[in-house]
Amino acid sequence: MSKRVLEILKSKFGADIYETHSQFGDDTAVVNPEKWREIARFLRDDSQCAMNMFVDLTAVDYLGRQTPRFEVVLHLRSLERGHRIRLKARIGDDDANGVEIDSVVPVWKGANWFERECFDMFGVNFKGHPDLRRILMYPEFVGYPLRKDYPADKTQPLVELRNVPDKLPPFGIDEGMPFGRQTHDYPRGEETN
């Protein structure tokens, strides 16, 4: 069903659709970040696509695995036709320069908080967003917590921790997580508290 949407996209935008796949049955198109909003608007307005339901917007950090480093992922659904599509755009280099993309708030206003969250967690700058500020973290927070180079055990207390001798800080390094992917598997940005 939604394979058709991929074909429509390919015939309409041609070279701006970098690649498509349907892994696990989820139809995906990787698109040119320059055309991000244009493609989004087309998907909403075209009668054969009619993606009028905004589902989800997020990002993934592929530090050291692929360049461009970030992938902005958008999930859409059509109410009338019942099909879904995933749209991806790759942005930013390894030092997190140029992490910006057009906002899709003018297309679906539901994207507002999702883009704010994405900005908060990954530092993706959405051009044309009406109110881009942190949403889950506090305004004084430094850094972007879901980037892979942000240490998971780093603490940034809003109120300075009391310095009481013989008392441990709230969390030790890698507390309770002796296995799995560790913080020190990633290059460390700055000194942890």
Binding site: Q23, F24, G25, D26, T28, N52, M53, F54, V55, D56, T58, V60, D61, R65, V73, H75, L79, G82, R84, R86, W108, K109, G110, A111, N112, W113, F114, E117, M121, R134, I135, L136, M137, Y138, P145, L146, A152, M177, F179, G180, R181, Q182, T183
Partner: protein, 404 residues
């Protein structure tokens, strides 16, 4: 000192027109969760509202990138702590979609039955808390009494009352207990009876109805554009239910109606929830009737399912297998997938990225009430301060889920 009878210019007599800022929350007795709303008021009318969330942010997604796939179950429990079973099942289905496995039929019915019990809990507590915030404390006690019955069933089945962590990739932690069906068949009618009694206290109450009817109206188009799903979207008149539109597990064999509202106001949202509880009870009944009494609960794949405890303690092979699954985690094929289920508040999505190792590369939860809460700003602009309370209550914002 100026004389009191001085001549004043006409303009000075007018009341100051500066908007007043009012801070509601983050911890406010009449609010549904830990949320701060900064209101800009003109008199008692809300001219502008800024909803600020994040007070319950615990870094769910960052934590998930560190453990194994199985270790995520306790975390998803704590996202929506009102209906943890639905989150458990949703996450298990997402990982199973990547692994390409389907759980045995008995387990599917078991998941449906437990999940729908959790949905009754979710809707009931939302309605109850909403009444309580409006000053009607008694119905909440009726609903809490009904919730107790469901929690007793959960306690018997899973060993825990609230955060069960009962789901597993490829099955459930334990098979149903011997008297599961009897317990549920005896419990659900009592729950429905208590709900009807609680409703009787509300639905003829003029004050309650006046504060609900025609307040907080959301149009169909706006609800869609805002990414609303679940009860709040259906109350606005869009019959979208994931269980009906994209049936998963055995929902395609169930007969149930999808209640739809007409105006999309608080009253519709309340009534849709109440009706959905009754439809959910129907699903539970059918699931119990169709559920086989015998048969496996877990899939038979030694790479995914832990061996029986008996073997772990007596044979070396099972010990090694147990060790490898626990320490290295289940190997999920590399790739990405988006899986969605109907949770208490709407479409609960999991976008998973795996690099082929035992640890998830990225776990993205799409919490339904994150999208719902962002519509609050639009809903309350133009209303009065007392309308904020029922409007916010009817959206059923769950802090843990909304703030990740």
């Amino acid at each position: 000192m100026e004389p009191l009878d001085r001549d004043l210019e006409e303009g000075l007599l007018e009341l100051p027109s500066e908007p007043m800022m009012l801070n509601m929350g983050p911890s406010h007795p009449a609010m549904h969760g830990t949320v701060r709303i900064v209101l800009e008021l003109s008199g008692e009318m809300i001219q502008k509202a800024d909803v600020q969330i994040g007070y319950l942010h615990r870094g769910f997604e960052k934590m998930c990138e560190r453990g194994t796939w199985t270790q995520i179950f306790p975390y998803v429990d704590r996202c929506n702590y009102v209906s943890p079973m639905l989150n458990n099942v949703g996450f298990a289905l997402a990982v199973e979609k990547m692994l390409g496995v389907t759980v045995p039929e008995r387990c599917q019915y078991y998941r449906v039955a437990l999940g729908e019990l959790a949905r009754i809990c979710d809707h009931m507590i939302c309605s109850g808390a909403m009444c309580m915030e409006l000053g009607a404390f008694t119905p909440f006690l009726y609903f809490a009494r009904a919730r107790e019955i469901i929690w007793d069933i959960f306690e018997e089945e899973t060993g825990a009352r609230v955060t069960h962590s009962f789901g597993r990739v490829g099955g459930m932690a334990n098979p149903p207990t011997k008297y599961f069906k009897e317990m549920v068949r005896a419990g659900v009618p009592r729950v429905l009876q208590l709900i009807s009694e609680g409703e009787k206290l509300l639905l003829k109450n003029r004050i309650f109805l006046d504060r609900l009817e025609g307040v907080g109206v959301m149009s169909k188009e706006d609800a869609l554009a805002l990414g609303w799903t679940g009860v709040v979207l259906r109350a606005s008149g869009v019959p979208y239910d994931v269980r009906r539109a994209h049936p998963y597990m055995v929902y395609d064999r169930m007969e149930f109606d999808v209640p739809v509202g007409t105006t999309g106001d608080n009253y519709d949202r309340f009534m849709c929830r109440q009706e959905e509880i009754r439809q959910t009870a129907r699903i539970i009944e059918q699931a119990l009737d169709q559920m086989p009494d015998e048969g496996p609960i877990n899939i038979e794949d030694p790479r995914i399912i832990l061996p029986p405890k008996q073997d772990v303690y007596t044979t070396i092979e099972a010990t090694i297998q147990h060790f490898k699954i626990v320490m290295e985690g289940i190997k999920v094929p590399a790739g990405e997938c988006y899986s969605y289920t109907e949770a208490g508040n709407g479409e609960l999505g999991f976008y998973l990225v795996s690099d082929g190792s035992g640890t998830p590369y990225r776990v993205r939860i799409r919490p339904p009430c994150f999208a719902t809460t962002q519509g609050l700003e639009q809903l309350i602009t133009g209303l009065m301060i007392p309308d904020v309370v029922p409007t916010f209550g009817s959206l059923n914002m769950i802090g843990g889920e909304c703030d990740h």
